[in-house]
Amino acid sequence: MASEDPCFIGSKTTVRGQVSGKQDLVVEGRIEGHIRLESHLTVEESATVEADIEATIATLKGEVRGPVVATRSAVLEATARVAGKVSAPSITIVDGARFSGEIEMDVELPAGVVAGNA
C-alpha cells in the first residue's frame, strides 16, 4: 500500500535537505540536497534538482546538477539538461538532451578486451 500513494513535489515548492524513501517520486519543483530512493525518480521539465541522486530508475526531463546513480537505469529525455556524473547499468540519452559530465555504465568487458582499447 505504501508504494500506491503518490509523492509529488509541485512546481512552486522547494525542498532543501535530504529526501529518502521507497516510493516513486515526481519532481516539478526544486530540490537541493540529497535524494535517496529505492524507487523511480522522475524529474519533470519544469524541475530543477541540485542534489546527489540515488534511485532505482531515474527519468530526467528537467535541469539536474549533481551525480546521479541509478541502480537499474537512467534516461535523459529530450528536454533534459544534466551536468554531473551519471552512473547506471543502462543509460539512455534521447536526441535533444543536453548533458555535460561523465557516463559510467560499469560494463563487463569480454575476456581479453582491455578498457580503453575500443
Binding site: P6, G10, R16, Q18, Q23, L25
Partner: protein, 104 residues
C-alpha cells in the same frame, strides 16, 4: 495536480518551502513554510516548525505551528508544540500539549 504530496514512505530531513498547498503522509523533519494550506494526514509524522495559511493536522506533529488563517486539530491528531493562529479548532479526541496564541 499542482499540489505537493509527500508520500507515506518518504522521509524529508530539511526544509520545504513554496507557494502551493502541501499534503504530508510521510515523515518531515526540519521546517515547513508554505503560502497555502498544509495538511498532515493520519500516519504522518512531522517534527518541524510549520507555517501555512491553514494547517490541518490528523497525524503527529512535534513543533510550533503558525497558521495565518486557521489551525485545525482533527480527532486522531497528536500535537506537541505551540500553536499560533487567529482561529484554532481542537476536535474531541485530539491530543495536544503546548501554548495557544490566538493573538487576542
Amino acid at each position: 495536480m499542482a499540489n505537493t504530496v509527500i508520500g507515506s514512505s518518504i522521509v524529508i530531513d530539511g526544509e520545504i518551502s513554496g507557494e502551493e498547498a502541501i499534503t504530508i503522509l510521510g515523515t518531515v523533519k526540519g521546517k515547513v513554510a508554505v503560502a497555502q494550506g498544509v495538511v498532515i494526514e493520519a500516519g504522518a509524522t512531522v517534527e518541524a516548525d510549520i507555517e501555512g495559511q491553514t494547517v490541518t493536522v490528523s497525524g503527529k506533529v512535534t513543533g510550533n505551528v503558525t497558521a495565518r488563517e486557521k489551525l485545525e486539530l482533527r480527532p486522531e491528531s497528536k500535537m506537541v508544540g505551540n500553536a499560533k493562529a487567529p482561529r484554532i479548532v481542537v476536535a474531541d479526541g485530539a491530543s495536544f500539549k503546548g501554548n495557544v496564541d490566538m493573538d487576542v
